[in-house]
């Protein structure tokens, strides 16, 4: 395991107007691992994941204090190029959101926006990304078809392929399986298992089982605070806080 963390977050405070959404968050997210963020609705875990690729910049009246170091560089420091940060930190959303274009165009979109125009190179990127997202065999004959014609699970894998096409270092996943059926969920989980060999993966999930199955580290969020953070096995077997254990066992949420 890599010794230096991918992200190291120090004293992070985030406000939406007057609402204090994240309170003094401290966390070190390791590389080539799956880190799961759990907690009841509205606890700030989705807000936190969006801190990591600065998607909160799009929210008006959002104020962020503290430092977020990625490979020892403050991503909120002056001179950070947000778009290049986002190419390094890919994101997959709760609902599959492929663009209403062809499958090929969806995957090629990111590299194209970075200026890659060579069709042969793009073809290569598309095939490689689809393979890694375990979708290539299903769609290789219909790359020109509209992405919306795929099933929900396929769409979500397409979104992962779209993120992989950027060759990111980190993949953020915001409840990626909550809109999918169990079989599709299983395929995504298998995919994550194989992806974590190369990427740092951060996932928000509402499913305790999922967190337990796939993650190496788990953070429990409550009311904007990180109540507990550590190895998944430790958090689930021996929670240090009573709230954590009550949440994990399903007594509140």
């Amino acid at each position: 395991m890599n010794s230096s963390p991918k992200f190291s977050i120090k004293n992070l405070n985030l406000y939406y107007g007057v609402f204090h959404a994240l309170k003094a968050v401290e966390m070190e997210i390791p590389d080539r691992n799956v880190t799961a963020l759990i907690g009841p609705s509205g606890c700030g875990k989705s807000t936190f994941i969006r801190v990591l690729n600065r998607m909160n910049d799009l929210v008006r009246d959002c104020l962020i204090e503290g430092t977020v170091l990625m490979d020892n560089t403050n991503i909120y420091g002056p001179g950070t190029d947000v778009t290049s940060l986002r190419t390094a930190v890919g994101m997959v959303f709760q609902k599959p959101n492929p663009f209403p274009m062809s499958i090929w165009q969806n995957v090629a979109y990111g590299p194209k926006m970075q200026g890659l125009r060579n069709t042969a190179a793009l073809n290569e990127v598309v095939e490689e990304s689809l393979r890694r997202a375990a979708l290539w065999d299903e769609v290789k004959d219909r790359l020109k078809k509209n992405a919306l014609s795929l099933s929900g699970g396929q769409q979500q894998r397409l979104c992962i392929a779209r993120a992989i096409a950027m060759q990111p270092q980190v993949i953020l996943m915001d409840e990626p399986t909550s809109a999918l059926d169990p079989i599709a969920t299983k395929r995504i989980e298998e995919l994550m298992e194989s992806l974590k060999r190369d990427y740092c993966i951060v996932i928000v999930t509402h499913s305790m089982n999922q967190a337990l199955r796939i993650s190496d580290k788990t953070a429990f969020f409550l009311m904007g605070e990180v109540l507990e953070f550590g190895d998944t096995a430790r958090v689930f077997d021996d929670p240090r806080h009573e709230e954590t254990s009550r949440y994990i066992t399903g007594h509140f949420g």
């Binding site: 994101m91 979109y109 509209n146 014609s149």
Partner: protein, 439 residues
């Protein structure tokens, strides 16, 4: 009240109100009536059904009204291509109290006297300055040039004049000035060929009875096309700015202003054009007059802006925010996101806006009349004065009579077909995009 019962009851009710209209709702067995609900379920059914009948009656009336309008326009407008203006040659007597025409006596007759369509002679006997006079004119049927269906002998040429095509007047010297005896002979216009209507270049409806609308068709298409070429790009850029880049409050204010612009009566645009644009174009080009196709295009492109912008902004705003997020999360800039994702996703709405804008440009009347100059000629330059199809109808409707009037309805049919064609295009485009998305 327990949960299970109401759950069971709901589908029964829904079915009864929606499609099972002939079966009265039966109370669900075991479901007690609930007095706290003011409306009993049978009242609800009656209200629903009554509303359904109201919808039917009202839509029936609107369908009838629309159909009546279309039938009226077609009935009026198709006439000139199938029927002559009158079944036969007609004679009108002026200041001739008594005359015998083809044997029948007419006393103080001022209305047109139709001849027998089979007659081969027109014989008129009347007293002229006291002396009985007899005029006999041979008639020819089925001649190529209807003007030659009557022949005037050389001795009558001094009295003969033709005030307009297919009308002949014989004026004789009379006792008092202004009371000269006159005989007017009106030859019916034969059915007009649809081809010469569409391709004819002369619109001389009054005296020469030529009804060619080709210049107007060209002017209509060119001015609409010009307006779209100028107006649509501007409108689309404004759409993107308003929907993607302006802060919400400013965007709402701008949208409101543009909607207001859409509500301004077209005559106001026309007035603005007449006062500002027309003199401006005259100065710019140094032409005799600024009333021209360029002025029409300028005003029309201004007028279609609100149409395209309102529809376009609505289309862009309805693109799900998750798509923008997805694009931004891939490291695309806001500008790339706006063009490559938002505009692509809203393609169908944007195209609809442009097509509706085109339809507005095609149908616009008042503003165009004020600025285009209304000359029925094929434009040769930007400063040519032109007349559109709608302008012709509006200009001449009050002044026309007979076939001229019917021809204005025929122009209405042409406009109808143009719009029909445009709707066909929009349907096709939509269908194409739809299959692209769904297949």
């Amino acid at each position: 009240m327990n949960h299970g019962d109401s759950k069971l009851c709901a589908p029964t009710d829904a079915r009864a109100t929606l499609d099972d209209r002939d079966r009265l709702p039966c109370e669900f067995p075991g479901q007690a009536a609930r007095p706290e609900y003011a409306m009993s379920s049978s009242t609800r059914i009656i209200v629903d059904r009554s509303l359904r009948h109201i919808f039917r009656i009202v839509s029936f009336f609107s369908v009838i009204a629309l159909a009546a309008m279309v039938i009226f326009v077609f009935a009026q407008g198709l006439g000139p291509f199938f029927f002559p203006t009158a079944p036969s040659i007609a004679v009108v007597l002026e200041n001739i109290p008594s005359a015998r025409i083809n044997g029948s006596l007419y006393e103080n007759h001022r209305r047109a006297i139709p001849l027998d369509p089979e007659a081969s002679y027109l014989t008129i006997e009347f007293p002229l300055s006291g002396t009985p006079t007899r005029i006999s004119l041979p008639l020819y049927r089925n001649v190529e040039d209807p003007g030659r269906s009557i022949e005037f002998p050389p001795e009558l040429q001094d009295y003969l004049s033709s005030p307009e095509h297919l009308s002949y007047t014989l004026s004789f010297p009379g006792s008092l000035p202004g009371l000269e005896p006159r005989i007017h002979i009106n030859i019916p216009e034969p059915p007009y060929s649809f081809r010469s209507f569409i391709t004819g270049r002369e619109w001389r409806p009054v005296y020469r009875k030529m009804y060619g609308i080709f210049p107007m068709i060209i002017a209509t298409l060119l001015s609409a096309l010009g307006a779209v070429l100028v107006g649509a790009p501007v409108a689309l850029l404004s759409c993107v700015l308003i929907a993607e880049f302006l802060p919400p409050r400013l965007s709402a204010a701008v949208t409101g202003a543009i909607e207001l612009l859409a509500g301004i009566p077209s005559v106001v645009y026309g007035f603005f054009g007449l006062m500002i644009v027309v003199p401006g174009i005259q100065r710019l080009f140094g032409s005799a007059s600024g009333s021209s196709i360029a002025a029409a295009i300028a005003i029309l492109s201004l007028m279609i802006l609100p149409t395209i912008v309102t529809i376009g902004v609505t289309a862009l705003r309805s693109v799900p925010a998750t798509l923008r997020e997805a694009s931004l999360a891939l490291g695309a800039t806001k500008m790339q996101t706006a063009w490559c994702v938002v505009c692509t996703s809203a393609k169908s709405g944007l195209v609809t806006g442009v097509v509706l804008g085109t339809a507005r440009a095609l149908g616009e009347t008042m503003a165009v009349i004020l600025v285009a100059g209304n000359s029925p000629q094929i434009p040769v330059s930007l400063v040519s004065s032109v007349r559109t199809l709608t302008a012709t109808i509006a200009l001449e409707m009050g002044y026309s009579a007979g076939r001229h009037n019917e021809m204005l309805f025929s122009i209405g049919i042409i406009l109808f077909l143009l719009i029909f064609l445009l709707n066909g295009v929009i349907m096709r485009l939509r269908g194409k995009m739809h299959t692209e998305v769904s297949s």
